[in-house]
Symmetry: C2
Subunit: 229 residues, 2 copies
C-alpha cells in the first residue's frame, strides 16, 4: 500500500446559483496540481447552492416534508429522521441552514450522482485530468453518537472495494466484506475541510479506489433488506 | 487547514499472544519517523491476538452469545447483530475468523480503550513521542450497505470535534454538529491498510484532533437515546 494525501482546497469563493463549481475549484487549486486518479470530494452544500436548491427559511417544515418520502422517527428535540427521495436516511431530509445566505436553507441536490458526473466531466474538460468525484454530506448514525461525512454522490469510481470471494493471508475466504470506500473518502476529506471554515472541497491522492461507473445510490440499503428502519 | 497524510505501516509480523504490539509497530516504522501529534491507528485484530483473545473456532456460537449482552437482529444469512459488552452494535459481537491462525477465532479486546491507553504509553516509553492511538474495527451500518472502519478504542484524543455553540461563516450557530473524528480517522486509515494484506497499523499525520483523555465508549449512543435498536 502507498501513502494517501488529504489536501484541502482553499480559496473557493461563496457559491451562488448558476456558479460553475468545477471552474471555481480548479481556479482555487491551480490546474497543474490535479493528477489523473485523484478523488475530488466536494461538500453537498456548494453543489446544492450552485444548482439553485436554496429556499426561504420560513418554508423549512414544508421543505422537509416535501424532501421526505417517509418519516422514520421524530426526536424529542424536534428533529425529523427521514428517508429522502434518494433513499438516504438522515436528519431533516438533509435540509440545512448552516453556511447558507441569511434567510435561506438548502435542500439536497435532486440527483447527487448526476451532479457528481457533471462535475467530473467539467473538471476533465477544464484540466484534461481524469479524476473521480465524491459529493459528501454530514449524516448522523444509528447506535453511535456524532456525525461523519458520507458520500451522497459518486462519479468515476465504484462506491465499494469488494473483498468478497478473496482470501486472507491464511488462504481462508474473508467474511462478506465490502468496504464502503466512498463513505471513507468522504469522512477522511471532512477532516481537512472543517465545519466553521469555508473549505468546501478536498483532494484525496493515492486512494485504492476501483475506477468504474458506480453511484452513491448503490450505498443505500434497500428497505426490504434493512433490519433497522 | 493543512494537509493530512495517511501512512501505512508495513512489516509488522504475525502477532501472537503476549507480543508487544507497540514494539512491533515501532520496529516496523523506525522510531525516528514518529512525530508528536501523530495518530496511530491499529486494527482490533492484532490487539486482540496479542491480548490472547483467540478461542477455538468450534466455540464460535457460544463465543458470540457470551460476548453479546443483547441480540438485536438475526439475518437470514445466519448473522447475528448484537450489542457487545462495550455497547457496540455489530455483527457477531465482533467475533471474527479472517486473518487468524487456523482453527481460531478472535474476540474483541475486553476493554479497547484501556488497550489503546496501554499502547499509547508504551509507544511514548519506546520513542519519547506523544502520539494518540485509535483501535479500529470493521463494522456494518444501518441503512447503508458496505462496511467502514470505526473506532472501538481511543487514547490521547477526544473522539469528537465539537462544533456545538460555534458559528458558521455567516455568524449563525451551526446545527448540533459533533463530528465523530475517531471514526473518520479509523475509516481513513482503513484505506491504506487493505483487508487482504497484513497491514495492521497506519499513521495519520496532521489530523485536527482535540487532545484529551477521551474514550471510544463515548461514541456509544445510550440505549435510551437510541431510536434505532
Amino acid at each position: 500500500m502507498k501513502e494517501i494525501r488529504l489536501i484541502p482546497i482553499e480559496g473557493v469563493p461563496e457559491v451562488v446559483a448558476g456558479d460553475d463549481v468545477a471552474l471555481l475549484i480548479v481556479d482555487a487549486l491551480g490546474p497543474e496540481v490535479l493528477e489523473d486518479g485523484d478523488v475530488l470530494v466536494v461538500t453537498q452544500k456548494v453543489i446544492s447552492k450552485a444548482e439553485g436548491r436554496s429556499v426561504p427559511a420560513e418554508t423549512r417544515a414544508a421543505a422537509i416534508a416535501d424532501e421526505s418520502v417517509r418519516i422514520l422517527r421524530r426526536t424529542e428535540g424536534g428533529m425529523t429522521i427521514s428517508e429522502t427521495k434518494h433513499g438516504f436516511i438522515c436528519a431533516n431530509a438533509g435540509v440545512d441552514a448552516s453556511n447558507v445566505g441569511t434567510g435561506q436553507i438548502v435542500l439536497l441536490p435532486v440527483d447527487p450522482d448526476a451532479s457528481a458526473r457533471r462535475l467530473r466531466s467539467r473538471v476533465q474538460h477544464l484540466t484534461g485530468r481524469d479524476v473521480a468525484v465524491v459529493i459528501s454530506d454530514t449524516f448522523g448514525r444509528a447506535w453511535r453518537l456524532g456525525q461523519t461525512d458520507v458520500a451522497i454522490g459518486v462519479a468515476g469510481i465504484e462506491p465499494f472495494v469488494d473483498y468478497r470471494g478473496t482470501t486472507d493471508t491464511q488462504g481462508r475466504e474473508l467474511n462478506a466484506t465490502r468496504i464502503a470506500i466512498a463513505d471513507e473518502l468522504a469522512g477522511a476529506a471532512e477532516m481537512v475541510m472543517g465545519k466553521a471554515d469555508r473549505i468546501c472541497a478536498a483532494l484525496v491522492r493515492g486512494a485504492p479506489v476501483t475506477w468504474g461507473r458506480g453511484a452513491a445510490t448503490e450505498l443505500v440499503r434497500s428497505p426490504t433488506d434493512d433490519l433497522f428502519r
